[in-house]
């Protein structure tokens, strides 16, 4: 049990740090997926421990949402790249004071 939770924590931390530190939008995006999958892993692990299917069902929902998110998110990143010739998230800072 513990290794699953530890792995999930490590993956989530990696994803979190990646989102906060990396500039490339694709990498940031991947890190977000990493965090989602870390939480999926935790859900499935706890589901197994408790012996009911709630956590697994929840994990499916997360996957569906993540898939939809990828569709929209990649489309946005593509558009930004086409207009700015850059995939850096720091460059897209029009909405500032």
């Amino acid at each position: 049990m513990t290794p699953y939770v530890v792995l999930s924590s490590i993956l989530f931390t990696i994803g979190c740090v990646g989102v906060l530190t990396r500039r490339n939008a694709i990498v940031v995006f991947m890190c977000v997926e990493l965090m989602l999958n870390a939480s999926n892993l935790a859900l499935v692990a706890f589901s197994k421990q408790h012996g009911d299917l709630d956590g697994q069902v929840m994990a499916f929902f997360v996957m569906v949402v993540a898939a939809a998110e990828v569709v929209v998110g990649l489309a946005i990143i593509m558009t930004i790249f086409r207009t700015r010739r850059s995939a850096s998230v720091d460059d897209a800072s029009l909405l500032k004071y």
């Binding site: 989102v19 906060l20 998230v89 720091d90 800072s93 500032k96 004071y97």
Partner: protein, 646 residues
């Protein structure tokens, strides 16, 4: 036979109107119709009414007078216990428990008022045909006169306080219109405004009194209130009496609401006659006498009425002594004479009939003298300064003779109407309180002085008018009303013959145990006559025996200056009301500008400033937003853990 226990207040318990009394509403409706035709139709007819408007305006009150006379004679034929008639026209309005009908009450009191208002009013209308002959807005003038008469008739015929209030406000409106009739004169416009505003103060008292009536009795009908008056607490009745007195002070120009009356002389002279003799200022006296069922149970309120009346009767008389404007002298005398009536009304059951008696005789002689003054002004090119008159008795014999009758009546020359009426009030006052009685006697002496001064300066002494002024007698349309009124001034005292007026008003005012005055009545009359004679002689010595300067001397004593300034009534109002009011407004404006606006603008600045600081957090860096998301999530997790573990 109508018998009432002594000292009890008679109930207002009328029978339904039938026969000639079913035409009661017409008495009001006719002048109202005239007002409607002339005021609304005049502009619509585009000048086509100009040649006949004044005839319509003068005829309708005369018809009302004839109707009043017929009804009066019918009432005279009835038993004393059967002399209250009411007519229910329709339900005026109903709201919750309040039911107000358009009801008229015809009883001995309103019968006398009807005769006075329509009779003297008609004479003033007829006189105005001549007086206003050259005024281009004569049609409108007659329309407003008719409105005035109709409002006053509503006031005295209404059977509940709300109806009286309707007439009361109508009188206020009509007086405003008429005082300011020559609105192109700034002084007339502001005098009208002043009369209106001062009357509003009294109206506050009236409206509060109506409210108090409703909460106490559940109605404003006279009959219900008079039937339940003995059950209300004395405190309530005193409050009601004082509120009604405040109302009466406004309309009747009693101290402290007297300041509008002298300024009201800006109106055309017939208006002054109408205000002072037949309508308006008599309304306050009417209100007090009509509310006898209130004042009989409120002795303290009556005491205040007596104080106000005594102060006013001296105040008005003193003003009359120093004014050079003939109309203002007469206005001061009106104040003083209304003070006598109020005094009579304040003296209670014993005084009510004499208050009304003096009101009627005063209506005759004051209308006579005001119209006479108008006739003098007519002949003197509208000059009102008595210092420019002198020796007019030869130039205007009819005016002089009729005016002299009014003069003899007002100073109380034995046999003339004023002698009987004023004497009776002084006698009752002496019986109840010798101090007030002596002051009233003193007032009679001062009356003798200032009226003689007016008489001497106008009709005797040497001629002081310029050579290009040609005094002439007025046309007969003006002198005939003067002659009628002069005859009434002489003969008005007949109403006291056989104590008629006391018996006549008994169903309204009640009976009283006759207390004998401290001195024999004949001796009191004698003393009054002597006091008046002293006043006349002083005037003769100071005015007739000396040269009257054409310009008023300026190096005069303080007393004269105070009297010329109307005893600083305006300054007192200024100091007590106007200036503190102005200061209050200035203070409130400052509070609004700096206090309220400060809070509003401070909020704006605060929000704007914090916005300027907070927007700096919007850096545009997605990663810093993500960091704050993380921080928020961590805080939530920590909080959850803390709650679960604790």
């Amino acid at each position: 036979m109508f018998v009432l226990a002594e000292g009890t207040t008679p109930l207002v318990d009328p029978t339904s109107a039938d026969g000639v009394f079913s035409l009661l509403w017409l008495v009001i409706a006719l002048p109202l119709l005239g007002a409607l035709i002339l005021l609304a139709g005049g502009p619509l007819a585009k000048g086509r009414l100009d040649r006949s408007g004044h005839l319509i305006g003068a005829t309708l009150p005369v018809v009302s007078f004839v109707l009043s006379l017929v009804m009066f004679l019918t009432l005279l034929g009835r038993d004393a216990g059967d002399r209250q008639v009411d007519q229910h026209l329709y339900t005026w309005f109903e709201a919750g428990g309040l039911h107000v009908g358009a009801d008229l009450l015809y009883d001995p009191l309103s019968a006398l008022f009807l005769l006075l208002i329509t009779g003297v009013g008609s004479l003033i209308h007829i006189y105005s045909i001549g007086y206003m002959a050259h005024d281009p807005r004569r049609t409108r003038f007659f329309g407003q006169l008719n409105l005035f008469v109709a409002a006053m008739l509503t006031l005295v015929l209404a059977n509940n306080y709300l109806g009286v209030f309707l007439g009361w406000e109508g009188v206020g409106l009509a007086s405003y219109l008429l005082i300011g009739f020559w609105q192109h004169k700034h002084s007339a416009a502001s005098a009208a405004k002043k009369a209106f505003l001062v009357n509003r103060v009294g109206d506050i008292g009236f409206s509060l009194a109506i409210g108090l009536c409703f909460t106490t009795f559940g109605t404003t009908d006279f009959s219900t209130i008079s039937a339940n008056a003995d059950r209300a607490s004395e405190g309530t009745m005193t409050a009601l009496g004082l509120l009604l007195l405040l109302a009466a002070c406004g309309k009747s120009a009693q101290v402290p609401l007297q300041s509008w009356l002298l300024d009201a002389m800006e109106g055309p002279t017939p208006v002054s006659a109408l205000i002072h003799a037949a309508t308006m200022v008599t309304a306050g006296v009417y209100l007090v006498v009509r509310s006898n069922f209130v004042f009989d149970y409120a002795p303290h309120a009556r005491t205040v009425v007596i104080i106000v009346a005594t102060v006013t009767l001296l105040w008005g008389a003193i003003i009359g002594c120093a004014k050079d404007d003939i109309k203002k002298v007469l206005a001061g005398s009106t104040m003083s004479q209304i003070g006598y009536m109020m005094l009579g009304a304040g003296l209670g059951v014993a005084g009510y009939p004499f208050a009304i008696f003096h009101l009627l005789t005063h209506g005759f002689f004051k209308a006579n003298m005001f119209l006479g003054a108008g006739s003098v002004m007519h002949g003197m090119d509208d000059d009102v300064d008595m210092r420019h008159y002198g020796a007019l008795s030869k130039a205007m014999p009819v005016t002089f003779l009729t005016f002299a009758m009014g003069f003899l009546a007002i100073i109380g020359f034995p046999g003339f109407s004023g002698f009987w009426s004023k004497d009776k009030i002084i006698e009752v006052a002496l019986t109840q309180n010798w101090f007030v009685g002596v002051l009233a006697m003193l007032g009679a002496g001062v009356t003798g002085f200032y009226m003689s001064r007016l008489m001497f300066m106008t009709f005797f002494t040497k001629q002081r008018w310029a050579d290009d002024v040609h005094p002439h007698e007025s046309p007969s349309v003006m002198t005939v009303p003067l002659i009628v009124l002069a005859a009434l001034s002489v003969l008005g005292g007949l109403m006291l013959a056989g104590n008629w007026i006391v018996d006549w008003l008994e169903p309204v005012t009640g009976t009283f145990a006759h207390e004998s005055p401290p001195l024999p009545a004949i001796l009191i009359s004698l003393i009054v006559v002597v006091v008046v004679a002293v006043g006349v002689v002083v005037a003769w010595y100071l005015v007739q025996q000396r040269e009257v300067p054409r310009e008023a001397p300026q190096d005069v004593s303080f007393a004269t200056r105070a009297a010329r300034a109307e005893l600083y009534g305006n300054e007192i109002n200024d100091g007590l009301v106007v200036r503190p009011g102005a200061r209050l407004v200035t203070g409130l404006t400052l509070f609004d500008e700096h206090g309220v606006d400060g809070v509003v603008e401070g909020t704006v600045i605060g929000v704007g400033g914090s916005g300027a600081v907070l927007r700096l957090t919007q850096t545009g860096f997605v990663r810093s937003y993500a960091l704050s998301l993380l921080a928020g999530a961590l805080i939530v997790v920590v909080a959850l853990l803390a709650v679960n573990l604790a």
